[in-house]
Homo-oligomer: 266 residues x 2
Amino acid sequence: MTVRQLSLPELAAGCARLGIRQVGLWREPVRAYGVAETSALVRDAGLRVTTLCRGGFLTAVDADARAAALADNRRAVDEAAALGTDTLVLVSGGLPAGAKDLGAARERVADALTELAPYAGDHGVRVAVEPLHPMYASDRCVVSTLTQALDLAERFPAHQVGVAVDTYHVWWDDRAPAEIARAGASGRIHTFQLADWTTPLPEGVLTGRGRLGDGAIDLRAWTSHVAAAGYTGPIEVELFNEDLWARDGQEVLTETAERFLQHVVG
Amino acid sequence: MTVRQLSLPELAAGCARLGIRQVGLWREPVRAYGVAETSALVRDAGLRVTTLCRGGFLTAVDADARAAALADNRRAVDEAAALGTDTLVLVSGGLPAGAKDLGAARERVADALTELAPYAGDHGVRVAVEPLHPMYASDRCVVSTLTQALDLAERFPAHQVGVAVDTYHVWWDDRAPAEIARAGASGRIHTFQLADWTTPLPEGVLTGRGRLGDGAIDLRAWTSHVAAAGYTGPIEVELFNEDLWARDGQEVLTETAERFLQHVVG
């Protein structure tokens, strides 16, 4: 998503050029290109798919809407399995129109996971419940903290449900380091994503994620937290940023790799 | 601030017209009108000033900047005392440029309170530490939760430091009801403010507070939480909203009073 201006073949070529051997994909471009075609493309390029983003949006009350959401999430599991990734990122969904009860909405997510988690596990796919920043609580994701995400995940086996840790969403939370340790102890950190926090936020607050090193987040510290919790998996850089999308995608890919080396592991 | 388009005499007249006998004021219009003049105006109008907004911005590292901030906060205490209110709302301030350590910034706020709190108490003024929504953590307020605000406040006597509970800032937090109970038990709920949560958020996320009843917040439930915690003080409606500021101020005042009766106590 950081370089959504690139086609999937362009992305694969850019990764090969930079020696990047793992890539996180989103469902929309995968489905547009074709799931089987994407699977062949990444295999031929020697790429491993880290995660597929995203399932979720499971907070509806209406029975038909719930059934449709579950069916879509099963398809997302199938797509993940076809791409050879073991992880499907899940964003819970926001409050239905007129609803005001965040706790009840989270329980509807738990109910849906009761059906989705075993289906995912049977297909070799782990669901990674991603808490989003509290500024998305009403319209996008009623799971706002790692604590809440883990409370949901721990109702299921770790090979079925864990969490996604994204610095953009958790950096403000003084409990998050302890929750990362808790997640690591039960093998539930299913992916680790980086973005920096910059202000002012844009209208709608969706597309203002900062380039690594431009913002307020101590990226090295958070990377240390997940490492100390035993996480040895891939680290994804996920930037929704209009300025980056307006630039040459290969240039952005190169710059992002350089910034990763400079601000995270350097 | 909900009707900042009104002059202070217009505001006083509007309150009289509606039978509103208490009003929260901000420092900027008070200082522009004159502190003594405002004090006389509200006294003559039979109004009680609930709180003065706001002190704070105490996160600087530089010694001169810290001294200047403390001096300004002492003036704010003096102004509150002159207006006859016992409560000064305090917004801690964000991260200094280049800083990435929220915990260290919160400790600098605590250090400043060590000087400010006794000064306030000596003048009959309580400081109300206001946690702001985590989306303001970097640029405005490193105190993001009621838990953090209470942890700060409890280092001081309750007649010196407590907290401000604003639905806009805490509504997403599943721990907030328990923290309200904790604050109430030690007499530290120093004000209670209402705004609703509506999306999409505007650029900069400062001026998008929703009118009572327009958004996702269960205002009655939060009002019950503070009541159950023993709070019997005034309830303030604080809406930063460009659309409201563009309308006739008296009309907005009337509408806000009606919505309060309809969505909060009705």
